[in-house]
């Protein structure tokens, strides 16, 4: 299955991925509703994007009491708006914090790989996000540990 591969070292924090994502997911530019989120590390000197890894366990899907989360053509866990009752269980079940709740629609929302053509990957000017077949999905662990460690050294 193709997934979003993140190369954190390449990210410059331009947030173009968030803009593209929010448009694709909501029909408007509104980065607050993006399902890919770029986090700063070391204060403001480095950034890296983070989103649902489409984990094999599918915690969100298992937790959903009404079966609103299904697997779409791209193999992504996708929230069906017409079924979701907005109970937020999936947001609690997801260990990665990548299932969200929208108070405006009262529905859960998460990355669905844009149905197979992820907007963030096409929008990223540095190829920090690519859409590929890969063996692992742990992109950010080492990077985060390294950056956090460096920050601690300097304080």
């Amino acid at each position: 299955m193709k997934v979003l591969k993140i190369t954190p070292e390449k990210c410059t924090g331009c947030l173009r991925c968030e803009l593209a994502c929010s448009y694709m997911q909501t029909g408007q530019y509104q980065p607050a509703k993006s399902v890919i989120r770029v986090s700063p590390f070391e204060g403001h000197t480095s950034y890296a994007p983070y989103t649902c890894t489409q984990c094999a366990e599918g915690w969100c899907m298992t937790a959903c009491p009404v079966g609103a989360i299904t697997i779409n053509v791209a193999g992504a866990k996708d929230v069906r708006d017409d079924v979701c009752v907005g109970c937020k269980l999936c947001t609690i079940a997801c260990p990665y914090g990548t299932a969200f709740y929208d108070p405006d629609t009262r529905k859960a929302f998460k990355c669905n790989l844009c149905g197979g053509d992820p907007a963030c990957a096409s929008a990223c000017p540095t190829a920090a996000i690519t859409y590929e077949d890969t063996a692992t999905v742990d992109w950010i662990g080492d990077f985060a540990a390294h950056r956090a460690g460096r920050l601690l050294e300097t304080v």
């Binding site: 990210c11 410059t12 924090g13 331009c14 947030l15 173009r16 803009l19 593209a20 448009y23 997911q25 909501t26 029909g27 408007q28 530019y29 509104q30 980065p31 607050a32 509703k33 770029v38 986090s39 700063p40 204060g43 403001h44 000197t45 480095s46 950034y47 708006d81 929208d102 405006d104 629609t105 929008a123 000017p125 540095t126 300097t154």
Partner: protein, 651 residues
Amino acid sequence: MTTATVRTSANVPKAAKGAAAQPAQPGFAGKLLRVDLTKKRCWAEAWSPAEMQELLGGIGLGAMILYRETKTKSGKGNVSWDHPDNRLILATGPLAGLPVWGTGGLTVVTIGAGTNGPTSTQANGFFGTNLKYCGYDAIVIQGQSKDWVYLYINDDTLELRDARDLAGKDTWETQDTLSGKLGLTGHQLSVYSIGPAGENLCRFAAIQGDYGHVASKNGVGAVMGRKKLKAVAIVKGTKPLAVADPRGLMQAADDIAHALKTDPGSKSLYEYGTLPGVVNLSKLGVLPIKNYTTNVPPADITEWAAPKLREGFDHRGHQCNACGMHHCHMSIIRSGPNKGQTIDEPEYEGWSGAGWTIGATRPDQIADVAWLNTQLDRACLDVNEFGWICGWVMECQEKGYITEQQLGFKLAWGDIKGAHRLMEMISHRKGFGNILAEGVKRAAEKIGGPAKDCAIYFEKGAAPRGHDHRGRWEEMLDVATASTGTMETGNPTFPTEVGQPARINPYDGEQVAHYVAGLRGRKNFEDSLGVCIFTVRCTLELICRALNAATGWNWTWADAVRFGRRTAAINRVVALRGGYTPAIEKPSKRYSSTPVDGPAKGQSIAAQWDKMIDVWYNDVGYDRKTGKPLPETLRGLGLDWLVPEVWGKKA
């Protein structure tokens, strides 16, 4: 302490997934944020789609606000830069916050402290993005606070908060402190602030934001300081922005990106930002060395080539909103006295102002120059004018025009430590620094004698950008005739698109003047969109495509040029109201002297100056004697309503 809180519920989005409340005009947030520091009041003001189409944003919007709101009570003059009625306008534009590269844009418009006239100066980062997603296209600030405050914006929460604890902090410390206090890191918070130089009303103080972005021209930091506004802190907003044709916008954005990556005119900018300027401009005699005393760089200038300047540091891209240029970088100094310090990679102008101009030209000084450049940003001094001041003091001390006693210490060419000491004296107005804080022109006039003849400035009180314009005549003429105290026409970008020749003889005054007059308009247009100067180095046609996709309009390059010229005419009227005359459209003696060596050796702009001014006035349709735009020029730009004010009722 919260001194004023205004909450409005008018524009809260109701639902996501396409059903959110739509601003009436796509591309715009739809409101202006008004702030009165005297009355401690913040309020939102709607502006109409018709006005948006007429004024766009940035300098287009700002010029009109200055025109309407900075007249003196008698109606004849203009308020001065330090008057409570002066407006400080922090404006974005229709492309800000959208996925077009480099769209965090901020244009600062005010009556500036350098020329005491209109100002248009830009910076980037995430100002425009955060502000527009909070629901505002611009902030218009009036009045003066008694104590230091900062403006806090978080969607509909608008507060003037106590900033007494921030006073004295530099711009980076200010942002660090606010980030810590508010618990927001990175681009979740955009902060534009002033450092000590702005607090102490240095005439060339800048406004600095988001670690390394500087709106540096015409003393805008002094205006902010006079208003006792320490900072503007904008939380990344949560509102939606609608555009007319999202697919078309993405396509235009990608086409602009492709052009920037591949066009020979922008490719090196794409790869290295402005770093290649050092070596490239030295080949044209345009790199200013030791206060214009020479144009011949040492042979080891190859050590200043762009890749070496970048690779000499641990560096990481630090781009503005949606930008893919390899331009802004955060760098860490690898060795030497400042080892481990984080700096913002200098622009070309940083290398020149904090380096070459002041004689720091040795390769082993590169890290020190980069460090000084960031210290200037943190103090909020314009690196260009600092270079002209510091280089001037160095030369004058060498020649005995300014003594060691007067200055308080010995300051020789290339002495970075000494330059930093000078920076501290200026930004705190200590000792001789108090005179220098008035800017290079006023300081030179105060010292007088042969010292004055060594100083680089414009008679109108502005300072040039960091080049040797004795080899780039367009820019000297452009700024001399500009109403804003800095470039009004800007770099020739795709000149043939607007009917100008691809190339001219750079030392033929008449050709230069026709060229500068002919290129007018584009820059004011760019500076009204909320985009970066570097990410619009493509054809106007492409930029218009992005604008049209965002707004649903139908602009052509000709509309863009006309818009820019109209904006320039409004700025000119405001300037005239403040006492502007063509008599001050002059470079200083040194600035317009004849290079004694280098590629531009023997080329005298002074000998052709009067002729150039004549041609320029004739071409732009302004009156050579009074500086006023002629009635037919105003009418041709659709500014008929301005004719009676400028020329009297009978015209």
